[in-house]
Every structure is written in structure tokens, then in C-alpha cells.
């Protein structure tokens, strides 16, 4: 763990700070961040509604999450735990969202495709931070000092409202994309995949194949005949087991 590079940033983040981030850096944020996901994106980017606040002047960090928030006695909201939601579903809105919001950092779960990093994030000088775990909800919840504001709560509900949080060293987050748009997740996936085939070596093919195990839908789903000595039951008739 000592080998991890930890970076603490103030929000709104400066382009200079963002550009210095390296893939795999561990980031903590202090300042104001907001949540926006499909509910907000649809309103603004598809229905053309005006943002309820000038988000550019407030923050440039967009968190893909829905908080476990409940109303408190002071008429505000308490946030217990926060967990990010999977970001890849929001890819189609990101290009326009960067233009509208001026966001420089997107925080979420699981990263986005490298294509999106190259085509949309790089031109905007934006970076993607992934939450860690992903179930580190209590830790992130502690980083939220105060709910500063909430918009579209009645129309969108708790999960899809636009929450504005004041945060103090909220994190940790991991930087996924480098300056060229390469993804840390993809790098690790490739490394895992390279070794995966070896584990299957020597395992005999399934008696009954399923879609997904074959690349062509036209393939016969019935696999090789059983090679095991269990022959008492004609579990899955195959060409050869008829004789």
C-alpha cells in the first residue's frame, strides 16, 4: 500500500491539477461536488431543461451516485453511506455533458470504455475516478460534511436528484484513464485474460453447450458426447450415444 501515490485535490479542480494525475493515483477531494446521472442528463440534454443552478460556478466534479439520504430534524438531509453506480451506462451523454457543465472529473463505479476516454474525455481534458471496493459506502459517507443543496428531488426522487455536497477529503478514488485515454481496468483485464485460457486447459467440453459459450448462434448446442464412464442414464442424447 505504501507504493500507492496519494493526491489530495481542491474542488473545483484546476486543469493543471487534473493534467498531473497519473493512472492508478489515489485521490481525495475537498470542496463541493454534485451528483448527476441519467435522471439529470435526460432532463438537461434530452428535454432541454435549464440546469437549476449555474453548475460551472459551483463545481466541476460529477459523482455518479445515489446517496442513502434521509431528512433530518433541522430540515436538511443526513447522508449515511454513499456508493457509486456503474458509469458505463451514461456514456452516451458524456460528450454533451462536458460541454454543458464544464466537468473535469467524473467519479463512478467501474470506469468507462477506452473509446469514450479517447473520444470524449481526452478532448475535454477530463479524467475518470473510480470508487474503491465498491462497497466502501461508510468511508465515503464520512467524507460528506454537508448537503449544501438538492435539486429536482420531488421530480426525480432521492436516487436521481441533483445533490450538491460539501466534502472534506472524500475518497479514496482511483484514477482510471491516463492522459491518452488508456484505462487501468482494461490493462488489468488484459493481464487476467492472458492467463485465463490456461485454467480451462484439460477441462473437457460441456455435455450441453449454451449460447454465450459459442461464438456463433448457428452452432449446435449439444457438445461432445460424454467421455465419462457414467452411461446408465441417457442424460442428453447425442449422435453417438444412440448406438
Amino acid at each position: 500500500m505504501s507504493k500507492m501515490n496519494v493526491v489530495k485535490l481542491k474542488v473545483p479542480v484546476s486543469q493543471e491539477d487534473v493534467d498531473k494525475l497519473e493512472q492508478g493515483d489515489i485521490v481525495y477531494l475537498t470542496g463541493t461536488i454534485y451528483t448527476a446521472r441519467e435522471g439529470v442528463y435526460k432532463k438537461v440534454l434530452e428535454s432541454g431543461e435549464k440546469l437549476p443552478v449555474d453548475i460551472r460556478s459551483i463545481s466541476n466534479v460529477n459523482f455518479h451516485c445515489s446517496p442513502a439520504a434521509s431528512p433530518n430534524e433541522q430540515g436538511g438531509y443526513d447522508v449515511g453511506a454513499v456508493t457509486a453506480t456503474a458509469s458505463f451506462r451514461f456514456g452516451k451523454w458524456m460528450k454533451q455533458w462536458f460541454e454543458v457543465s464544464g466537468a473535469k472529473i467524473i467519479i463512478g463505479k467501474g470506469g468507462m470504455p477506452e473509446q469514450a476516454y479517447r473520444d470524449v474525455f481526452v478532448p475535454n481534458g477530463a479524467r475518470y475516478l473510480s470508487t474503491v471496493g465498491y462497497g466502501a459506502g461508510a468511508l465515503l459517507g464520512r467524507g460528506i460534511k454537508q448537503v449544501k443543496d438538492v435539486h429536482w428531488l420531488a421530480e426525480n426522487g432521492i436516487a436521481q436528484a441533483m445533490w450538491i455536497f460539501e466534502v472534506d477529503e472524500i475518497g479514496p478514488f482511483i484514477v482510471d484513464n491516463d492522459r491518452e485515454g488508456n484505462s487501468l481496468f482494461v490493462k488489468h483485464e488484459n493481464a487476467v485474460n492472458a492467463k485465463l485460457e490456461k485454467l480451462y486447459e484439460g477441462l473437457k467440453p460441456p455435455a450441453l453447450k449454451r449460447y454465450g459459450e459459442t461464438t456463433s448462434r448457428a452452432d449446435e448446442v449439444i457438445g461432445e458426447p460424454d467421455t465419462q464412464p457414467i452411461r446408465i442414464v441417457n442424460a442428453m442424447p447425442t449422435e453417438r450415444s444412440k448406438d
Partner: protein, 313 residues
């Protein structure tokens, strides 16, 4: 024999306490296993993620806040001693359990996760049709009732497949690898996880025992059948040899433990189910005695010799 009924109110209080323990306090067996994994993990990123999870458990306990914002789907397991009597009967017991879920949702608070599958209607209390699930089993002799709650999270990492006898151990391993490798990507299964495997039965039994194996057996517990125990170890090693750790990063820590449960099945088939109990492995158990004593404990002790019996007795 005097049968002293267990008061409904005591069931309610115990169940409500279990709700918050499950949501907030990580079970010690899981935490210890994760600490051990952290010291063995050689990949920096995987190690960092595990340590962050350990920090998260501490914060949850200190602040009394849920360990994960997705507070899962609360469900209950009830084991009743054969001599146990509940005031108001089992209808009253279910009433108390359902009420504890509504109270817990509000007080802890939990995310109201339960919705109607089509209309997405949310009662905002984690109650609904067949929600929470309540499963029963019985044990000879006792006049107590065991209550266990599990707040299972995770939309990923669970699968079922009908294998055939000819598939043998190879088929089991293949399905295991398919599931682990695909759901582990980008950490969708929120691994490291306790993996439960159901083998045999019919489809519903296969799913049930697999899920119980994941959620109700503590880390380190070994199936008493040596053949099954051997398979548990093999699958655990296989999973940790994939080379994938938490969040899909390179690592050795995918499977915290693997528990296999078997049920007698159709002679032509070998159904198999796989369940991942994510790193918010939320479970809590208590025994309510007829004299009003309540003992909280870490091990649900769900799988007993009696529960796994083979013959008539």
C-alpha cells in the same frame, strides 16, 4: 412439559437489533479472513482495495452507519426447536419479522431497495410481496428459536446451470470459472466474496442451498463430507488462481472461502448454482430461549447434521 411461549415483542426487539447489526457490523470471521488476505496479497492495487474495505468496516462500526449504501435485500432464516412456542404462533412471528424490517429501514436507515418488478412501486420500507423472504427449518429437542438475518447484496455473481453427470468435476470447474471470471471483471461481484455452491436437488433446492452455503456458513467452516470438503478447497484455489482480485485488478484474492452444499438430485442431472456473498457480507444471528434470554452469536449454525440428514429419522 411446560411450554413457555416466546413473547412476540421479544421477537420484534431481537429481529430489529439483528437488522442493524447486519447492516453495520462486518462478521468477525469475514473480517479476519480479509485481514489475512491483505497481508498475503502481493499486488499493490488489490492490496490497497482490501485495506480500504477494512477501513470502511471500521468507519461503519465507529459511526454506526451502514457499511455499504446499497444495503441489499434483507431476508430472514428461522430455525425453530421442536418444542418452541411463540406467543401468537408463527403468524405473530412473521408479523414481528416484517415489522422489524420496516423499523430497521427507517431507523438505521437502509435504502428502500425493494420494488415491484414491473411497476417499480416502492413501499419505502423494504416490504412487499414475498419480501422479506422468510425460510424455516426445524431442529429436534430445543425450545428456542434461532433468528438469522442476511442482507444480501449484489446483482452479479449468481448463476445456475443444469450440468449432467458426464460433466463431472470438470463441468463443475468450468462453470465455476465461467462465472467467476465474467462477474469478477471490473469488480462487478464486489469481490472478494464468500462463494456458495449448490449442487444437486432440483432447481429451487439447488438455488436455496447454494445461497445458504454462501450466506450462512462462516469462513473456515468445512463440509463434513470429505468429498465435498475436497471440492470446496479445489474451487477456492481455482478461483484464487484466476489472477483476479478485487475490482478486477490483478491479484490473488477473489474467493474468501468456498462452501459447497449438496442435495440428492435426479439421476440424469447435476444442477449447480453459484452465489457470491459480496464483501458487504451482512449476516447476524441470535437464539431466543423460552425463558426470555437472547444470545447473539456470529455463527448462524444453520447447517446441522439434522438439516443434512439422509434417512427417515
Amino acid at each position: 412439559m411446560s411450554r413457555k411461549p416466546i413473547p412476540q415483542q421479544l421477537v420484534l426487539e431481537t429481529a430489529t437489533e439483528l437488522m442493524s447489526r447486519a447492516a453495520i457490523d462486518i462478521p468477525p470471521d469475514y473480517k479476519k479472513a480479509l485481514q489475512a488476505a491483505a497481508s498475503k496479497e502481493t499486488e499493490d492495487l488489490s492490496c490497497f482495495v482490501i485495506k480500504t474495505m477494512l477501513d470502511n468496516y471500521d468507519v461503519a462500526e465507529e459511526d454506526r452507519r451502514p457499511m455499504c449504501a446499497d444495503t441489499g435485500l434483507p431476508r430472514f432464516y428461522v430455525k425453530a426447536g421442536n418444542e418452541a412456542v411463540v406467543e401468537g404462533g408463527f403468524i405473530a412471528l412473521e408479523h414481528a419479522i416484517r415489522e422489524s424490517v420496516a423499523i430497521g429501514t427507517q431507523q438505521i436507515p437502509l435504502r428502500p431497495n425493494r420494488v415491484h418488478p414491473l411497476t417499480r412501486k416502492d413501499n419505502n420500507n423494504n416490504l412487499g410481496i414475498h419480501a422479506p423472504e422468510i425460510e424455516y427449518t426445524f431442529e429436534p429437542g430445543g425450545d428456542w428459536i434461532d433468528l438469522v438475518t442476511v442482507h444480501k447484496g449484489g446483482l452479479f455473481g449468481t448463476d445456475y446451470r443444469m450440468l449432467f453427470p458426464g460433466d463431472g468435476i470438470d463441468g463443475i470447474k468450468r462453470f465455476f470459472l465461467d462465472t467467476m471470471a465474467s462477474f469478477g471483471r471490473r469488480g462487478l461481484a464486489c469481490q472478494p466474496a464468500i462463494i456458495g455452491i449448490g449442487l444437486g436437488g432440483n432447481k429451487d433446492t439447488c438455488m436455496r442451498i447454494g445461497k445458504e452455503a454462501a450466506c450462512l456458513r462462516v469462513v473456515g467452516d468445512v463440509n463434513p463430507d470429505p468429498d465435498v470438503a475436497k471440492l470446496e478447497q479445489e474451487l477456492k484455489d481455482l478461483g484464487n488462481n484466476i489472477g483476479m482480485g478485487p475490482m478486477g485488478f490483478e491479484g490473488k484474492t477473489l474467493v474468501v472461502d468456498c462452501h459447497v452444499e449438496v442435495a440428492y438430485t435426479h439421476t440424469g442431472g447435476m444442477p449447480m448454482s453459484i452465489h457470491s456473498f459480496c464483501h458487504s457480507s451482512r449476516r447476524a444471528a441470535a437464539r431466543i430461549h423460552s425463558d426470555g434470554r437472547v444470545e447473539f452469536r456470529d455463527d448462524p449454525q444453520w447447517f446441522t447434521d439434522f438439516y443434512r440428514r439422509e434417512g427417515i429419522e
